[in-house]
């Protein structure tokens, strides 16, 4: 029985071997697979091509134009003339830009702090509310301001900071009359007033990020932690914070980017003043380009800002990554 069986097997292999050369002339499975892969990749590229085209045209092309423009004296209207690196040299000698950059340091530190700490604390408080319904209510209350346009908040706070505004009224009400002052017209208070506007500083988006991060912490970890005594503040410090590092990293990076791009607050509330005390680099970019018509110089400052943001973002990521490790 074995012989016929093996013979059958042999026959079968022989038959296969006989057919194979005939098929190889017309059909190569590897080439066919390659063709299928190419077709699949091509189809995929075709589908995402519009996204890349739009992204390229509206995001990368302007950046490229800005780079080229930064090497010219373009006034926004007439033919640009190449000036080499002159704009960059001027930027490094520009006293106003230096002041704007220095103003951006406390601005960035303050904004990063406000972007992380108050939303994190609010998220913790909401997360620890026992009833789900109350959690939902508090979450909604904190998130509803998201629908209020930022410009409205800015205009409101402009009124709050007036010498007869809400801030001074509250200070008077609690007996701190000595602290009353026109907040936006003193160089010593104007920058701080801009940084700390928006009390209670619970950014809805950041709150939701932290809240969803807390929800994602596995119950087993919390239970194990509780057995080891990690409850209350210990839990926040030794379980929640380490497990929210990736969320924190994202929010810190976004806050750094936003702080370097802080335009509306100084533009609408102080115009960069008094003096240059609230002048930010991006407001200076706006001024030199749109108001003074020196687009070439404006673009060169934009490029420097881009590099600064890139460096800061990388540094922030490195910092939070090492903490995680």
């Amino acid at each position: 029985m074995s012989t016929p069986a093996s013979g059958l097997q042999t026959d079968s292999r022989t038959a296969g071997a006989r057919v194979a050369p005939a098929r190889s002339a017309a059909y190569d499975p590897r080439r066919s697979q390659r063709r299928r892969n190419v077709r699949a990749v091509g189809l995929g590229l075709l589908f995402i091509a519009p996204t890349f085209v739009i992204l390229g045209y509206f995001m990368y092309y302007p950046a490229y134009v800005a780079f080229v423009g930064s090497l010219t004296d373009w006034d926004g209207f007439n033919t640009p003339r190449a000036v080499g690196l002159q704009n960059f040299a001027n930027a490094f000698r520009d006293g106003n830009l230096r002041v704007a950059g220095l103003n951006n340091i406390p601005w960035a530190i303050g904004k990063v702090f406000l972007a992380v700490v108050p939303p994190f604390l609010a998220a913790e408080l909401i997360f620890h509310v026992r009833r789900q319904r109350w959690q939902y209510l508090y979450r909604t209350l904190f998130v509803v301001p998201l629908i209020i346009p930022g410009i409205v908040t800015i205009l409101l706070w402009t009124f709050y900071y007036r010498s007869d505004g809400l801030v001074n009224q509250v200070l008077g009400f609690v007996g701190l009359d000595a602290l009353q002052q026109p907040w936006l017209t003193r160089p010593s208070t104007a920058l701080g007033a801009l940084i700390f506007m928006g009390f209670p500083w619970v950014t809805p988006f950041n709150l939701l990020i932290f809240y969803s991060g807390l929800q994602a912490i596995p119950g087993e970890i919390l239970e194990a932690g509780a057995l080891d005594g990690a409850t209350g503040w210990r839990r926040v410090l030794f379980i929640d914070l380490p497990l929210l590092v990736s969320q924190t990293r994202v929010l810190v990076t976004l806050a750094i980017i936003a702080s370097v791009q802080a335009l509306l607050e100084p533009l609408l509330m102080t115009g960069g003043g008094p003096g240059t005390s609230t002048l930010t680099p991006i407001l200076y970019v706006y001024r030199t380009g749109v108001e003074y018509g020196d687009f070439g110089y404006s673009m060169s400052i934009s490029l420097i800002l881009f590099l600064v943001v890139l460096l800061l973002s990388v540094a922030a990521n490195r910092l939070t990554r090492s903490r995680k490790a």
Partner: protein
Amino acid sequence: MSRHVRRSVRTLAVAAGMLALTTSCLPGASSEGGDEAETIGAGESPAEEWTGTITMFAQEYTPNAEVANSYGLTALQDAADGFAEEHPGVTVEFVDEKFDVYTEQVRVKAAAGELWDVYWGQWAALNGSLPEGIAYDLAPAFEEPNPYAPEYDTWAEAMNPQVIEATRAGSGASYNINGDFVTTGWYYNADLFEQAGITEPPATWGEFVELCTTLRDAGITPVAFVPYYGHMQRHWLSDLYSDDFEAITQLDGAPGFSGADEALAIGEGILSPADPRFLAWWPTFKQATDTWQPDYITAPAERNDRAKQDFFAGDAAMYYSGSQTARELASAEVPFTWASFPFPTITPEDNEFASGDDTASAVGGPTGAYQYAISTAQANSTMEEPGKAEVVLDWLRYIGTPETAQSVVNETGQFLPSFTDTEPVEDLAEFADIVNQPWQSLYVGFSAPNLDTDLQRIFGNYLGGNITIEQARDELTPLLETAAADFRAQNGLE
């Protein structure tokens, strides 16, 4: 050549190609440069071949407007209808829009080649802050007769030759027709004055300071106003430098005060902190601003919109503005009695350098709304259509007559018509002669686009008590010297 080097060379070549391509793609790159003003009208007669629609932004005089104004004006539309009758196939369309950042909008539209055919443009902006080449130089056309005003030998005579001279660019170019005058002054809440026991508006600066103090002591905010350096300096410098006005305006060898005069005067240490008069008025001025609503003292000039709201709401006793405010107050139906008085005279008792001249008219002047320029083909691609520029110029000639200007300007009653032989509305009759008086206004701000903002910043900081006059001087000196030196270098004035 190694493969690596070949690849590097190829990469560099591609990058250079892309750089050149992109440079050529920057808006405006393909157009002619604006080194010399493009002229229109020299020896050209109105062309009848072109037909189509002329677009015009007429600012406050926009007829049938719902946005630009809400006065229901018709005079300019009547003119457009008359022009259309005489030019079959040509219509005029008015742009009914309101712009908060007009200069920026004009710049952006021009960069895209989409500026309107005829647009509102202040002479100072056209001579300075707006890019060169954005408007045709009308000077040659001014020297020719206007067929719609045949009683005058030249178009310039039908307008106001004095205004034309005062508003020319340093190159001698005239970029707009200039048909109305603004008067400025202090508008006040008479009820609050009465409440503080004030019966007469002040005539001198000393009286004005006293008035502010009296109001403050009565618990009333005397003034809500951003002390705009661009305006305030004109009252003060025009007085303090009145003996040298003629000499300063002659520095560039042409009549009228120009950017070239300014740059040269700064260079010679006249309009500069090196001259004791230049900053002498700041402490005198601060005596008044120390009593004003503090939130506006260091603010940028654009914040005056909010200051105006304070005044209109009755929260402040005074507000400084142009003659258009009378109409706005009437339209707003403010719940108080209001009146106005001119900028007070500065006497030698107020300031040791004061001449006592009346400089109330130094601010305003030929800066109203009947200020129209024509787009170049670079700013408006449709102007390349054969014959269009000539027809658009013809439209400007049509409305550039005393008769039309008077009817359009007087329809709003906000400004004084300034063309030859025109009369203002009855309410402004007392100011009628202002347009024919020598317009003596001295100021700094032409030399560089950033000067206006930076001067305001330093001025506000000083008035707010944040810096001393010495610190202000230290900031001003390099700012002015750099701006003037750049201007002189760019315009071959060295």
